[in-house]
Subunit: 239 residues, 2 copies
Amino acid sequence: MIELLIRNLNARDALDADEIACLQRIINRERAVGVDEDIVREGSRPNESTLLLDGIAARYRVLEDGKRQITALHVPGDFVDLHAFMLKTMDHGVVALSSCKVAAASHRDLTTVTQTSPHLTRMLWLSTVIDGAIHREWIVAMGRRSKKAHLAHLICELFTRLDIVGLVNDQSFHFPLSQAEAADVLGLSLVHLNKTLQKLRSDGLVRWEDHVITILDWVRLVEIAEFDTVYLNLVREPR
Amino acid sequence: MIELLIRNLNARDALDADEIACLQRIINRERAVGVDEDIVREGSRPNESTLLLDGIAARYRVLEDGKRQITALHVPGDFVDLHAFMLKTMDHGVVALSSCKVAAASHRDLTTVTQTSPHLTRMLWLSTVIDGAIHREWIVAMGRRSKKAHLAHLICELFTRLDIVGLVNDQSFHFPLSQAEAADVLGLSLVHLNKTLQKLRSDGLVRWEDHVITILDWVRLVEIAEFDTVYLNLVREPR
DNA sequence: GTGCAACTTTAAAATATTTGAATGAAACGC
DNA sequence: GCGTTTCATTCAAATATTTTAAAGTTGCAC
């Protein structure tokens, strides 16, 4: 069940058998979540943290005028709210953008991990800190990249993250978001997202149809996006 | 020396005497950094994490075309790169926006903390996770708030964060950034940042002159910004 | 099969934002 | 005191982006 989480962590540092057993023990309560359902509600005080097993989820906030901004996208093997272990109160919601399967680790058990397993604690800490690195990269993309480069960057990032957990086939991956939802990721209007996408298409860089994105020219896409994987910490080293 | 860090952490949960003593022991190597000097360089692999004692610092990235985006601002009492303890390689630089004083904790000592002091570990983890919450709030502001609301939000946030560490006098705080630097925070051109600032001024909300920002109407500023402190986790509770 | 609903695409007008350039004011070195 | 630099401000033209609306497409319920 937690195989993808293990792959995720193992990509950054080796976990030993005890640590894996510990994760297997504390992560349970598997459940299904339907499309557009909240996995975690803004303002709630969860006593467990949720691991995404299958599907795509998003952290988001809605402003008073109804505008929504997605602040993070999650792929299988990600914790969607491990930060809530420390934060206690959710300052955002987490929604299922496709039908999802999730499981959870209680905060009580996570506290025990911090008391008994320093290295595993650091690995979980690492995973929240990688979330932060992704946030920073999104800030850079929103603030200083062209819209085309921003979209290209998002596609590069998702491709890379899905590849880690083995969810890329050939040059394609499943991408359940509508263009309106993608616009909420980039902070654009639907119309402009569509125009931006057409540019990537007409440049022969990507195909995006029927909820499948295919990379047609990885090298040029990376170049336009100035995509550099450093922030994803794909180096396996002692942490 | 680490008094402001203590205040920062204590605002979220009580530290006991041992924990404070531990922080005092491991944080040292005080040094001064001049304006515009890098405190930490992008691409470097620091073996210590830096605590800001005095001054304002910023995390930033520079794109190939020379555009800079600031992804975080730091006030005294903040660690500017505690995340590097887990991340190992810096995916961004940290620059002093005023002359600064800093001190540092070695990653060796931090590892020891994770092995011997679970609660202190969680408090340090918490502080990286609050950085992440701030990143998310910035993403929301960049993507879906008006420029005026974005700037108002930034001012509310800084006011609040500086207040925690006692650096607000009356309704004013020291803000050493030039407008060009502030533009790099919001992801705007200098010209447009200036226009946006004039709006806040002409609405009688803030004064900003000689590197001092004064809040003239907190209630309306908060309203325009839709500023809600939840994300800053100012509740003292067991973590 | 028909009609509805969700999503994508296109168009045109209204706004917002950037760029480049010029001006004025204040601070600084010598 | 003089020239130099940095910063804030203003302007106008060029672009980018949003808004509103309409039309085309697809899948699905009935």
